[in-house]
């Protein structure tokens, strides 16, 4: 006897809304990129609000309106950018969990600030694990929903969860946690080719603003600002690259690599955005500017550990509100 699993139906897909988890690891030597949520802490937080495993698959929405219909009573949580979300016309806020009933419609209109919203669903989205992850690899066309962005009419199944109250057992309470705040300062550590840049370029990199251009996507954010000249003309051999690395191609305009970046590259690495601030890059809207703040490796590592502890603390506190 099969119980049908909860389902949702995509009514409006927006542009490039994708199913993402924390990304695909262990296959970069085969040319397989990481993929996964661009704002990893946001997806983790939304999952934590629902008592999902942090790596459960959710939906990343970058351009609204995105709308879906719940086919069963289901808890959901939003995080990341505020998209002016509404459940049957009533406002729902990022950083909170809510219960939707059968046939209710959730609409994410568009970013009011920042640029990427995450929707976690009770149990997580049931798509196959391919090479260790459920994340959508848009370029290689696998993972998520058949390796593509979501479309109108897609039906997504959810895993059964049962860890949150159902209407019959308890009075339903929504609950929320404080969201991180985006600021136009993004911390980075110097990269291995930093010294190959001119003194002026080294100075400008840290002291002038960088603007996100419209040539930015899930692979990388292309920035515009003072041209960075490199005095060494030596070509580099291709090396492994990761999200957060800041490459400078010969045009002198840096590129910050993100989750969908290719696995190897050969441009000089002037700096690397620290893991704890990667989400800030991903949440910077096109046309907006920010500065890179020089940080030491030890600080970067401490901040990565701090982020981990913060999430554990939130998880513990939420247990009290099962």
């Amino acid at each position: 006897m099969f119980e049908s699993s909860p389902q949702i139906e995509v009514l409006q897909a927006g542009i490039q809304s994708t199913i993402q988890d924390l990304g695909r690891f262990g296959h970069r030597h085969l040319g397989i990129c990481q993929a996964g949520a661009l704002d990893v802490p946001a997806l983790m937080l939304a999952n934590t609000l629902l008592h999902n495993p942090v790596d459960a698959a959710g939906i990343e929405v970058s351009v609204g309106p995105f709308a879906l219909r719940f086919r069963q009573t289901t808890w959901f949580a939003l995080s990341g950018a505020d998209f002016g979300g509404q459940l049957d016309g009533k406002p729902v806020a990022p950083g909170w969990r809510y219960q939707a009933h059968e046939n209710q419609v959730l609409t994410l209109h568009g970013p009011r600030r920042e640029c990427r919203a995450y929707l976690a669903l009770e149990g997580g989205i049931d798509v196959p694990i391919i090479l260790g992850a459920r994340a959508t690899d848009l370029q290689a066309h696998f993972g998520g929903m058949h390796g593509r962005a979501l479309r109108k009419g897609d039906i997504l199944s959810l895993f059964e969860s049962g860890s949150l109250p159902t209407p019959s057992t308890k009075k339903i309470k929504s609950i929320g946690v404080q969201q991180r705040k985006w600021t136009p300062e993004i911390r980075a550590v110097v990269g291995p080719e930093f010294q190959q840049f001119s003194k002026k370029a080294q100075h400008d990199f840290w002291h002038h603003a960088w603007t996100v251009t419209n040539q930015s996507n899930r692979m990388g954010f292309r920035l515009q600002g003072n041209r960075l000249d490199r005095h060494s003309k030596q070509e580099l051999f291709s090396h492994g690259v990761t999200p957060g690395m800041i490459q400078v191609p010969p045009n002198g305009q840096p590129i910050v690599l993100l989750a969908d970046a290719q696995t190897t590259g050969g441009y000089p690495r002037i700096a690397c955005v620290i893991e704890a601030d990667l989400w800030k890059i991903a949440q910077t809207p096109i046309g907006k500017s920010f500065c890179f703040i020089r940080t030491e490796l030890s600080t970067a590592r401490e901040l990565a550990c701090q982020a981990r502890r913060d999430l554990q603390l939130i998880t513990q506190q939420l247990q009290r509100y099962a």
Binding site: R28, L131, A140, S238, G240, T264, I274, E275, R301
Partner: protein, 226 residues
Amino acid sequence: MSKLEIHFELVGETCACLQARPERGLNYTTPDLDLQRKIWHLAQQLRQQYSCRDIVPGMNNLTVIFDPSQDEGELWLSRLRQHWNEAKATNFQQRRIVIPTHYGGDHGPDLQVVAEHAELSPHEVVRLHSEAHYTVYFLGFQPGFAYMGGLPQRLTCPRRAEPRLLVPAGSVGIGGSQTGIYPSQSPGGWQLIAWTSITLFDPSLAAPSLLMPGDLVRFSVESCDV
């Protein structure tokens, strides 16, 4: 060949890297194959003994990617150093792979371009390309795409001025002094001389990529349309 020095360094808080660099002031343009063999061997060993996010051999370099909230970068640097000092190039066993290949015609629209650039007949290009033995240095660009060295010097040919928007999956191309096969349809700037029907990448398999860093590859002529 200038003398190479091996450097161990952290890149950001997530990467420990081993990189070959020439002695000060010297240029280094050809990758060292013996050094690369040691890198493949090292990658295999590290993968068997430790867990981390990824271990990526590049061209005469190796990157270990780890989770900074779990692992210490310095620990990875010392592991890299220790294993490198113990590694031997001869410990790497190469696999041999033959790719059945259709040269020229619709399968290789740039065969004539390569022939003219090399001042050879298209037949000679096919002979030279299919007689050579190629080594997969590393994979990148797209899943299963192998950067292969060993192209006969005569066949070296610049990339197209305008990359094609769509290169069919299975296309065999020449880019500078390298040859490679496009595993899936994508944009691409390499000169296309041939095509193979073989599947190079299948994400549903446990070993999704046919070619792996370190493999020895040969192209066998299935057909030739010149």
